[in-house]
Amino acid sequence: MILTALARLGAWTLGLLAGIGRFAAFTAETVSHAVRPPFHGREIGLALLQVGWLSLPVVGLTALFTGGALALQIYAGGNRFGAEAVVPQIVAIGMVRELGPVLVGLMIAARVTSSIAAEIATMKVTEQIDALVTLSTHPMKYLVLPRVLAGLVSVPLLVAVGDVIGILGGWFVATERLGFVSTPYLRNTINFLEPLDILSSLAKGAVFGFLAALMGCWFGMTSGRGAMGVGRATKSAVVAAAVAILAANLILTEAFFSA
């Protein structure tokens, strides 16, 4: 009984370690293709469009509503000890350092990771990836690298846009609902932010974009057969990307802002 349980635990641990090893090898291979031609420029352009440009609406709306809600929360909370005036500063630091990158990362995980995983898994199930190989085209170069590059490049830009829109959402609520005056609000926001805040935000965006795209590609390329395989790959990719983004956020926050 105990030996059986130990054997199962051992098998599970070995499986986990093997999976981590395979994922590490996949990541290394992806990165290695970034410095080895040929490059599929058209695929990279399309991936930038899909990951970056077409994510703008959901990122913008998420940031807008979150910035507005954050202003209301900080005003209500600050009111308890007479600190309502810090709304511009806290909205700015909250959006730029934390909420902007994390929410954009999670939105990308929901919108892009799922799409990448489902698309690649379907291609695998329908032998399109085998067909690519027979046409002398490396799937890592044609499918994986463009998407990972697009995540790495476009998500920091999305985070920057999300930061700005989130701050503007807070500004709108603060000036329209909470009685703040526009110009001092914006001046306080700009004066309070430091270059490190913005740098950390963009760096988080790059890491989150890389992770989100990589997870989608990994689970797509390793998906099982049939509709169930595609569904499982998609679900696992989104969950893994979300967890990886939140874990990376903690590590990066510690790296940038620990005393």
């Binding site: 698309e119 379907t122 291609m123 329908t126 032998e127 399109q128 085998d130 067909a131 690519l132 190989v133 027979t134 046409l135 002398s136 085209t137």
Partner: protein, 246 residues
């Protein structure tokens, strides 16, 4: 042209190919028949390098394929996949001209060649700008065939070319395969369990069963092979040496 010696492949405890020896001559049309799950597709995928064999050698024109430059090796092959495997995200002409575009041909020239290839399989020019999902099953198969022959490969593999098609469309595909072999002078290996396809396209036939090529001979001798496995298979009998529950 293609020589397999001692080819073995197992998936876990399931040995699919158990020491296959096979020679396919230049310009020959070989059809491999066998029940579902007997490793016919795995055989083709091993030759193309899509699946790594556990043992054995594969030679193309006398050269071990493991020692050949991968791109140059693959450029000599065309493959028609069972489901077509057209790329959903590309219009039909870009599917057909995929290799031309990859090799740097200009887009107008590549499109013109794709239209020519589509015409060869009986698809009108208007289908070139459609996406695969906008085509019927038979048209998808023909577009996939156009892609397989577009770069005039020396060897063409056909994996269940008529699966899921009505008899008329299956007949059209069989004729196109035979024409591809005759007109292009290509070497063809077709795997199927459709006996109409066997009679329409085969010069030589092999029966794959239990990991071995159980019988191999000219297509004309298939009906008088005297082999109980072949007899059962070609007549579709439930009783015989081939188990119906596999």
């Amino acid at each position: 042209m293609i020589e397999l010696r001692g080819l073995r492949k197992a998936f876990g405890a399931n040995t699919v190919l158990d020491g296959i020896d096979l020679d396919v001559g230049r310009g020959e049309s070989l059809v491999v028949i066998g029940g579902s799950g007997t490793g016919k597709s795995v055989l083709l995928k091993c030759i193309l390098g899509l699946v790594t064999p556990d043992a054995g050698t594969i030679r193309l024109d006398g050269q071990d394929t493991r020692e050949m430059p991968r791109d140059a090796f693959l450029a000599r092959f065309g493959m028609l996949f069972q489901g077509g495997a057209l790329f959903d995200s590309l219009p039909v002409w870009q599917n057909v001209a995929f290799r031309h575009l990859k090799d740097g041909l200009s887009r107008p020239e590549a499109r013109a060649r794709a239209v020519d290839s589509l015409a060869r399989v009986g698809l009108p020019e208007r289908t070139a700008d459609l996406y695969p999902a906008e085509l019927s099953g038979g048209m998808q198969k023909r577009a996939a065939l156009a892609r397989a022959i577009a770069a005039s490969p020396q060897v063409i593999f056909f994996d269940e070319p008529t699966a899921g098609l009505d008899p008329i469309m299956a007949g059209v595909i069989n004729r196109l395969i035979r024409e591809a072999v005759t007109d292009l002078g290509a070497t063809a290996v077709t795997i199927t369990h459709d006996m109409t396809t066997v009679h329409a396209v085969a010069d030589r036939v092999g029966l794959l069963h239990g990991g071995h090529l159980r019988w191999m001979g000219p297509a004309a001798e298939l009906d008088r092979s005297g082999d109980p496995y072949v007899e059962q298979f070609i007549h579709g009998r439930a009783q015989g040496p081939i188990a119906t529950l596999r």
